[in-house]
């Protein structure tokens, strides 16, 4: 009982501090990630959250033929190198940035429109540290006509 009570409390604390950090996340997304999308036009969507090391995020989006895209995945400096992969509807990995020096962006176009999944992984930098690191991770898209 006592144990679950304290676990609940800690979850509340984590949730609330994450909520406070989300305002800073917007500035991070705007100032760091969006700027790097040029010369692609940012689509205006906002996908950012405070993630902890070891945490994963997934994003589902349809991409259209005859359009060129830039995906940008930006992580706060304290999080280490963020890994991301692009996966199709059959689970086939089409791109993984760990084979490209953890490049933060990827430019691509499609012969036919597809719904793709973007999987983002925050690395665990110090193994099982007492306190996991946390920071903002933003997933942003830019586009231009092919």
């Amino acid at each position: 009982m006592k144990r679950s009570l304290f676990v609940s409390i800690l979850f509340v604390v984590f949730a609330l501090f994450s909520f406070n950090a989300s305002g800073q996340c917007k500035q991070f997304a705007k100032n760091t990630c969006k700027v790097g999308l040029a010369p692609y036009q940012h689509d205006g969507n906002y996908h950012a959250a405070v993630l902890l090391e070891g945490e994963e995020a997934e994003l589902y989006k349809t991409f259209y033929s005859d359009t060129q895209y830039r995906i940008g995945i930006c992580g706060a400096n304290n999080l280490g190198e963020i890994e991301f992969s692009i996966v199709d509807g059959n689970g086939k990995v089409l791109y993984n940035n760990k084979f490209h020096g953890y490049e933060w962006k990827w430019d691509f176009k499609l012969d036919s429109s597809q719904q793709l999944k973007i999987v983002v992984k925050v690395p665990v930098t110090n193994g099982m540290a007492d306190e996991p690191k946390e920071g903002c991770v933003a997933i942003m898209f830019g586009f231009k006509e092919k």
Binding site: L5, F6, V12, F14, G23, A29, Q41, D66, D107, Q114
Partner: protein
């Protein structure tokens, strides 16, 4: 006895939660020292055991995002498909005074921002100004603070003949609005705005298909059919807010739309990524075949029109 203990435990959680809201909610500092201070009263052994549990839970946690084409992307898709501009299709700006509920304001914020994006991509200066003002009224009604402020409108007026700057302003406005809703935990409002904008894009696109158009070769028809790939995303966005009756209403609408999309077949071959070493741009090579009858397309057009008419009424 057990019940009393549980009650007292709940009270501790409530009091603690209140205190954290009181102090944490007012603080913009997200430093780790804050968390240390909050947990410092716990014994070291218990802390360590709890951390192990917590870290394990965190390590298996997964944040899931669903992304629909933004109003800007929707407008670009319509334009790049070779469509023309038809201002008569757009929601009249005079209608803003009709929208008094949260649902109507959210849906029409999505609708007006799609109209705004469509007008701006076709260099319709006057319509662009009218629609940003209409969108502002909806955003103000929803208390989306500073999404579209007077300075934004002034900047738009000053650059009304510079399409690149206008598109940047719209992109910035969308980002401000989306991040505000996310920060405030208003995902339900955000989902309704997205649905409004998505349906408006479908409405404009289907309305621009002239009777007798060859459905097999028309690029805009292909874009309309492509939305089949996003319908599960729309459903997931609403599903996440299913406790809200307004989201439930929209879920029913989207289910009806999905039943029609289910009659359209999109067959796709395996995707092969090929990177161009000169440009570093990867092409996802694949082929897709669409099978759709004219009756189904007409049914889809009618359903979209019905939903959109209801949303703007």
């Amino acid at each position: 006895m057990n019940i009393r203990l549980m009650d007292s435990g709940k009270n501790v959680v409530l009091i603690f939660t209140f205190l954290v809201f009181l102090f944490g909610g007012c603080s913009s500092d997200n430093s780790k020292s804050g968390k240390n201070a909050d947990t410092s009263g716990l014994s070291e052994d218990f802390n360590s055991e709890m951390d192990d549990d917590l870290v394990e839970k965190i390590n298996t946690a997964k944040r899931i995002f669903y992304s629909l084409p933004s109003p800007l992307e929707t407008a670009m898709l319509i334009k790049s498909a070779g469509a023309s501009y038809n201002g008569d299709l757009l929601n009249k700006v005079e209608n803003t005074s009709k929208y008094n509920t949260n649902l109507k304001m959210a849906l029409n914020l999505g609708i007006y921002t799609t109209d705004l994006s469509y007008a701006s991509l076709f260099d319709q200066s006057q319509a662009t100004l009218s629609y940003i003002n209409a969108a502002k009224k909806m955003a103000d009604g929803l208390e989306i603070l500073d999404a579209i402020d007077e300075a934004t409108i002034r900047r738009l007026e000053e650059n009304i003949n510079n399409r690149d700057i206008i598109i940047d302003i719209i992109s910035e406005t969308l980002l401000n609005s989306n991040s505000f809703l996310e920060d405030k935990g208003l995902q339900n409002t955000s989902a309704m705005i997205l649905v409004g904008g998505w349906v408006e894009g479908l409405y404009v696109a289907t309305s621009l298909i002239a009777p007798g158009t060859d459905l097999k070769t028309n690029k805009l028809v292909e874009r309309i059919v492509d939305q089949k790939l996003s319908i599960n995303i729309v459903q997931s966005l609403l599903e996440n807010n299913k406790d809200n009756p307004e989201a439930q209403l929209l879920m029913n609408d989207i289910s009806e739309l999905k039943k029609i999309y289910d009659k359209i077949s999109i067959q796709q071959s395996e995707i092969t990524p090929v990177e161009d070493p000169n440009t570093n741009i990867t092409t996802l090579k694949s082929e897709s075949t669409i099978v759709m009858s004219r009756e189904v397309f007409d049914e889809l057009t009618r359903k979209v029109k019905e939903l959109r008419t209801r949303y703007i009424s």
